[in-house]
């Protein structure tokens, strides 16, 4: 719909647009400024690039990784573990939340255990996981899942419980059966909560996987970080961190895109 707005309103819209543009521009400039200053102070010898690294050295480190053929294998290892940890914990957490929601007595019984498990620092379980599952990808994914799953379960469960009592009454008087209440009311009503849980979960999955790689691994970005630290190659550490930042943002962006698409489909 195009409307003929008054001059004042057109001016207002223009100002808004300029404001948004300035915000975006400032963000990009800030990023360049930080990297630029970092590079300059390292070049000028104000800080020791051996300790602080520098953007150009990071790029070189990434290049070296690429030339040695291990850039993709390390990145892929971590990415795969994270995607696995994220998907497994999301699906399992969702199913557990559904079970707890549908059967209130089980929910009551398990409530204190959920709270304890939630406050337990899951890293403490690292040695157990290695003994039980063995070192390697499986152990790392398990670590990621452990860190994510409780938060997912509690978050999604709260979303389900948060559906208004009156709406449930309404559905009953409209003749809805249990499955219909779930698919037509509970799930769509808690969609915003589920999305925010997913967004938190992406971050946690990375935390869990990197944690797992610290504990035991011979590949992956977490391994590169630990290894780089041990041999005092901080360029390598920084390179791995930068790649992590990029991947984490991309995954977050994918979820935001999913949210946007579902909302668009709903509002059609």
């Amino acid at each position: 719909m195009k409307k003929d707005y008054s001059k004042e309103h057109q001016n207002y819209l223009k100002k808004q647009k300029i404001g948004i543009f300035i915000t975006h521009l400032s963000r990009i400039l800030l990023l360049f400024a930080v990297f630029g200053i970092w590079e300059l102070v390292a070049k000028a010898g104000i800080v020791d690039p051996f300790i602080t690294s520098s953007p150009s050295r990071i790029i070189k480190a990434i290049e070296e990784l690429y030339l040695s053929g291990s850039l993709f294998s390390h990145t892929w290892a971590t990415l795969l573990e994270t995607i696995l940890a994220f998907s497994i914990s999301t699906m399992a957490g969702f199913l557990i939340a559904l079970l707890l929601y549908s059967i209130p007595p089980i929910r009551k019984i398990l409530e204190p255990y959920l709270i304890v498990l939630n406050s337990l620092p899951k890293v403490a379980l690292g040695p157990l996981i290695i003994v039980w599952i063995g070192a390697g990808t499986k152990a790392i994914v398990t670590m990621g899942v452990l860190i994510c799953i409780i938060v997912t379960t509690i978050g999604i469960l709260n979303g389900f419980i948060g559906v208004e009592e009156e709406k449930l009454k309404l559905f009953k008087t409209l003749g809805a059966n249990k499955l219909q209440v779930l698919t037509k009311l509970i799930l769509p009503a808690s969609f915003p909560t589920i999305i925010s849980v997913l967004k938190i979960n992406v971050g946690l999955a990375w935390v869990g996987v990197i944690m797992g790689e610290y504990l035991n691994s011979s590949a992956g970005l977490g391994f590169l970080i630990v290894y780089g630290g041990q041999i005092f190659k901080l360029d390598l550490v920084m390179a791995a961190i930068i790649i992590l930042c990029l991947l984490a943002s991309i995954m977050y962006f994918i979820i935001a895109l999913f949210e946007y698409l579902v909302n668009k489909k709903r509002n059609k």
Partner: protein
């Protein structure tokens, strides 16, 4: 004209950890086809409980509830509920909100769809069929909620203080609209309210409840002529007579 609704000697006790509450005690009431009944009474006297019993959301501790001579023993689609909040689903457009009951009951037939669209058009919502609840004013949202209750063609409409969240001006307008819609669609309606003004303006019969445990204190039949709208009724001298009568009964 038969009894659409009859509540026979119903008592309702609520149990909680701290207490048991006798909410209703030996309550009896009937409604004829097409009758508009208001239930007034002090807050906490069991008005909402009566509606929940009729809708089959709770089972009476004692006594029985019949709609169209069928005993109510669980949630029933014979009665349809309208709340203080419109409870529209923000992820569905107006048309889908209104037809949610029909889809849940697998009654989305062409005839029913046409009827709903006619209702929306007749009551000033035709341009908003594709809009979302967020885009509508409070008064319009309540009208949508009413059409949702009408869509499944229930025998009885249950209205639980449906206007109390609206501002004064809107409330008068929506009362008028709802009254007209219900009368034109020839529905039986039970309205719960604590607003005497509203009860006198809209009903054929007012039931005054005592404080908890709720029992029928008195019934007042309002002898306005049938063609008067709530707005017209407010201008009648009779209006104040009834108003005072209810006021006295409530004291």
């Amino acid at each position: 004209m038969g009894n659409v609704l009859s509540i026979n000697n119903v008592s309702q006790i609520y149990h909680t950890k701290q207490n048991e509450t006798l909410a209703l005690s030996n309550l009896t009431l009937t409604a004829n086809e097409g009758e508009f009944i208001s239930i007034v009474g002090p807050s906490g006297c069991g008005k909402t409980t009566i509606l929940s019993l009729i809708a089959g959301l709770i089972k009476p501790t004692k006594g029985s509830v019949y709609i169209q001579n069928k005993e109510i023993s669980g949630p029933t689609t014979l009665a349809s509920y309208m709340f203080q909040k419109d409870n529209l689903l923000e992820w569905l457009n107006i048309y889908k909100n209104v037809t949610i009951g029909l889809s849940l009951q697998h009654k989305n037939t062409e005839t029913n769809k046409k009827r709903v669209i006619e209702l929306l058009e007749k009551y000033g919502l035709g341009d908003f069929i594709k809009s979302y609840p967020q885009e509508l004013s409070g008064g319009m949202r309540q009208r949508v909620a009413l059409i949702r209750t009408l869509a499944t063609n229930p025998d009885i409409l249950l209205l639980d203080e449906p206007f109390s969240a609206l501002d004064y001006q809107t409330r008068l307008n929506v009362q008028n609209d709802v009254f007209n819609i219900i009368k034109r669609e020839r529905k039986t309606a039970i309205l719960v309210t604590h607003d005497i003004n509203e009860a006198v303006a809209m009903s054929d019969k007012i039931i005054v409840l005592s404080a908890r445990p709720g029992t029928v204190k008195c019934e007042v039949h309002l002898s306005f002529s049938a063609e008067l709208s709530p707005e017209d009724r407010r201008k009648e001298p009779l209006f104040y007579e009834f108003y005072n009568q209810i006021w006295e009964a409530l004291k």
